[in-house]
Amino acid sequence: MGGAALDPRRALAAYGEDYGTRYFKYGPLVEQRPRVVESVGLFLEESHLLKMFGIEKQLVVGEDVKRFLGARSALARSVVYPLTDGEVRRDDERAWQVLAELSRRGFDQFKGLKESKDSFDGFYVTAALSAIAPEYMREELLKIHAKIDRELGLVKAFTVIPQPLAVAIAEKEISCVVVESGHGNTQITPIHTYPIREAVVALYRGGAEADAIAAEVLKDLGYGDLASDEMAVRRFKEEAGLIPLDLSEALKKAKENPERFRCKVRLSTLTEIDLEDKGWYRFLIGEVVFNPAHELFESFRKKGVLSIRDARLGEETVEGTLPLEEALLRSIRKTPTTLHDALLNRIILSGGNFQWKVPENLKDVAASAPLKVKHLLGKRLGSGVNVEVRLTQDPQFSVWKGCVVWSLALPENYLWNEKRGEGWFKRGVHY
């Protein structure tokens, strides 16, 4: 089926939703790029002042949260980040309310389409969830979207797919291993025309752990006050962090010649962080996702900075600190042996957590994420094995792209099957 056979009406109605831990990305295919909003909500306490200004809302989400932020002390109980490690707890009512409002607000921005086109009767929506998201999350999302349709009439059909499958679709790869590393977790999913569920390996570590190390580094450098400023930590991590090709080698070189690894990060006109002779810290920030079990992280573990929980997949427990290459091999070994070589040849890294700079003058010690994974696998399997690793072309938006392709192509009459968790959950049939 090529592009010519596609239904143009469906192209107008294809809509994607990527529920990430940090950002919610959503929107129709016709916009070609998703809209992005921070995955956060703020519950407003009843206030006469707000009522005077005509604000009756109890919950605000996304960028609106900043407009209503009050004292820092009130934040902890009022601000809700609905997803933790890509999941929402079943009984966390406030988190589900935030997720529902984020989704509803997304559709609300496109209600003009319904008003301007009589023939348009709603979107075909595909949402992407973490490959290890529990089943109740799917069920809750079905309910949320049915409710949105009753309110706005914009959800004609809804379905859910795993995020790694969406990445493979966006990358046009039918047989591959997708390693999706976001803020909350890292999922390794072999795919062969569909995710091989039994072979999924999840690690509960991602950008959040790199943030935690960056915050500790700031403290050690004497900027303890900035360690609690989330934005400052993230900026520092992105500017200073480096992935070492080999951690021990990189640290040795950085300690021998500190001036070469020194860097200054300007966070504002008033604040500049100078790493002085502690340039070697930069490699710890980048290494933590690949191997948090390294002895150098021992002191961070003791301080409780790195407390990575284990993942439970069926009968098996996957240690949170399992080195990435080990996790990858564990996953591939669970697939049929005939697929092993093909999968090793197509490893796709996706997600914001694999986006690291490689300064020109440090190319001998710092590496991009694909090069690092290739190096680790080469060390583990020997240099004779053919391994190919690459980054997605559009790491931030590839999940959304896969979702809209799914919305575009899934046949109208393929209806929701609870057991398989596939197919269209449709207006007039299911709600």
């Binding site: 089926m1 192209a11 921005q109 003009g112 301007s116 679709i169 046009k172 072309q393 799914w406």
Partner: protein, 235 residues
């Protein structure tokens, strides 16, 4: 009427949000040249913004914004040009590629926050009033090549405008005809069909553009997902 609309908008919250946004980026507000509602300068670089408030009719809004794109492209009052709207409503705006291809950007104003929904492409040459005079008089110090390019672009814009006027005329005739016959029990559907047909043609063009994006064109998953239902149902 235009003057009245303009002065109302330049004092609106929409304009205030845009002013704050460019002030934060280090731009200074300047007297807007003809054709834009607010303008800003940083060094030699000028940005002009046309403020648009939506009406009740999405069709009218879309036409109005499209004609503004053509007009800004023709007049080019600043090096970088934007159309600012409160909230982006898909049905009320021309498709994104029309903005991208014209180089006119789109600003989305939501409350007090402003974001660039579609970035503008800086225009190479600003058509100031004096430039237009020179062009007419032929006493320019610019190269013949430059003038040729400019005239060529103007011819293109005029051609597009003519087509647009034709299309609007056709549609309004068809609508008038259909509304005249509405009371008649034997309403002929031809006029309405014409409208729908031309709308469908426009959609087809947009959809072709959408389906040509890199992650859809030639994607083997389209076939797999398309046949997915049949295969799975059989299992």
């Amino acid at each position: 009427m235009v003057q009245e609309r303009s002065s109302l908008l330049t004092e609106s919250p929409l304009a205030d949000a845009v002013r704050r946004y460019y002030a934060e980026l280090g731009y200074t507000e300047i007297e807007p040249p003809e054709g834009v509602d607010v303008a800003f300068r940083k060094g030699e670089h000028r940005i002009g913004v046309r403020l648009v408030k939506f009406s009740r009719s999405s069709v009218r809004d879309r036409r109005f914004i499209r004609s503004e794109i053509y007009r800004l492209l023709r007049d080019r009052p600043c090096e970088e040009l934007y159309i600012a709207v409160e909230e982006i409503s898909f049905g009320r705006l021309p498709p994104p590629y029309e903005f991208r291809e014209s180089g006119i950007g789109l600003l989305r104003v939501s409350g007090s926050s402003v974001e660039i929904a579609i970035p503008a492409t800086p225009l190479k040459k600003v058509v100031a009033t004096s430039t237009r005079h020179t062009l007419q008089e032929g006493g320019s110090s610019r190269s013949v090549g430059d003038e040729y390019l400019e005239v060529d672009q103007l011819v293109k814009v005029v051609k597009e405008l003519k087509e647009l006027i034709e299309e609007v005329k056709k549609r309004s005739d068809a609508l008038a005809a259909s509304s005249d016959r509405k009371s008649d029990a034997n309403v002929s559907a031809t006029a309405l069909e014409d409208v729908v047909h031309s709308e469908a043609k426009e959609n087809e063009k947009n959809i072709d553009y959408v389906l040509a994006v890199d992650f859809i064109k030639g994607n083997p998953w389209l076939g797999i997902i398309g046949g997915f239902g049949a295969k799975k149902e059989g299992d």
